[in-house]
Amino acid sequence: MSCPTGHYSQMPGLRLRPVRELGVCVVFAPAEARLFRLNAQSWLALELCRGGTTAAALRKAWREVVTSDDAEERLRVALDLLLANRLLHHEPAPAEAPMTAAS
């Protein structure tokens, strides 16, 4: 299992609509013209990335809320989901940035 690294931020223009009575958050992504219904953990991960955060800060904040033994795995799953749906932007740390032909 790989740990989150680099920098995470919400994609620009997202509109988050918490639905606390149902324990979910509905997100409108204008670039995709789509609505997403996030469970509590994906919602938390997205909220923690509001304004941008380093992976280290994100993991620390996450562990303050999610205390189960599999907290790291849950964070990875949430981040994967958010990245796959283009709700989150990930900037790799310099050392892990993909090599280009010119470099």
Binding site: R17, V19, E21, F28, P30, A33, R34
Partner: protein, 337 residues
Amino acid sequence: MTAPPRNPVLERPLKVTLSFTSSCNLRCRHCYADCTAAASAAELPAAEWCGILDRLEADGVIGLYIEGGEPLHRADFLDVLRHAAGRFHVQLRTNGTLVTPALAAALKAECGIATLLVDIMGPDAATHDAATGVAGSFDLAIAGIRAALAAGIDTQMLTIMTRWNAARLQDWVALAAGLGVATVGILRPYPLGRLRQRWAEASLSLEEMHAALEALRLPPGMRLMQSWHPNNGNCCWQTAAIDAFGNSIGCAYLREYVNFGNLREVGFLDTWAHPLHRQLRSGAVTESCGDCAATQGSHGGCRSTAFAFHGRWDAPDPFDRATNHGVDLRVLPDRPL
């Protein structure tokens, strides 16, 4: 059947239907809004709609389902759509006849709409134009679908099942497939507006409706939306609607039955808290279909059709085979509204 539990509770609505205008360039014999060719002066102008959008956003609304009449028939409609762009997930229902390639490009690029839903009442010009009352409307609507698809808009085809088109639904599906439409919706008829006046002529029995649905063969990859058993949800729990005059009416299919207040005079959330609106959302019904509750997460089926046939808000929905109890859907009770 099960003892009906209650629906999920939303403190504030997520989605709102905007019945933007009661005007239209067509003269459909099934029109629920009893549309006129010219918009009434009493309809909300674009500036007022934009003000309402601002309030809806502040109140937590994130999705809009916009219909008419024909929204694109009003020249100021794009001003409202542009105002909503980037703030709301927008689904636009249209007769398609006014969707040119240039307009489709604007709907995509400037307005950012998510979905265009186009009403096509039959698989050919003869069937469709007989329904709309306007020769040439089929060709224009099909051109509109092609333009929207070419612009990259998620475009879906809708029809209302009636005696006029039920035998042609397979051809209608083939038409959609040929156009490249991946999602189609077959909607139940509602005894509203002009269709109410021709109900005996138009409506099928519930058995005939199910037979028409069950005979359909969908091409691979096509998705069919239909709200008969076992998909008969009670949408009320998450539904709000505003008509062309600013009235908060709960649902577009309740347009002839309820008015929770006019937004020129009262706040939207005040109408959301109206006792009848709360009752309709609650799922407080005398009988519910367990199969439909399991698939839809709500209870009791449509309140509009239940009220139309039984005159009670907590009545069973006769469009659900589990709660029909012998109601003949071809015979509309003669009940004053």
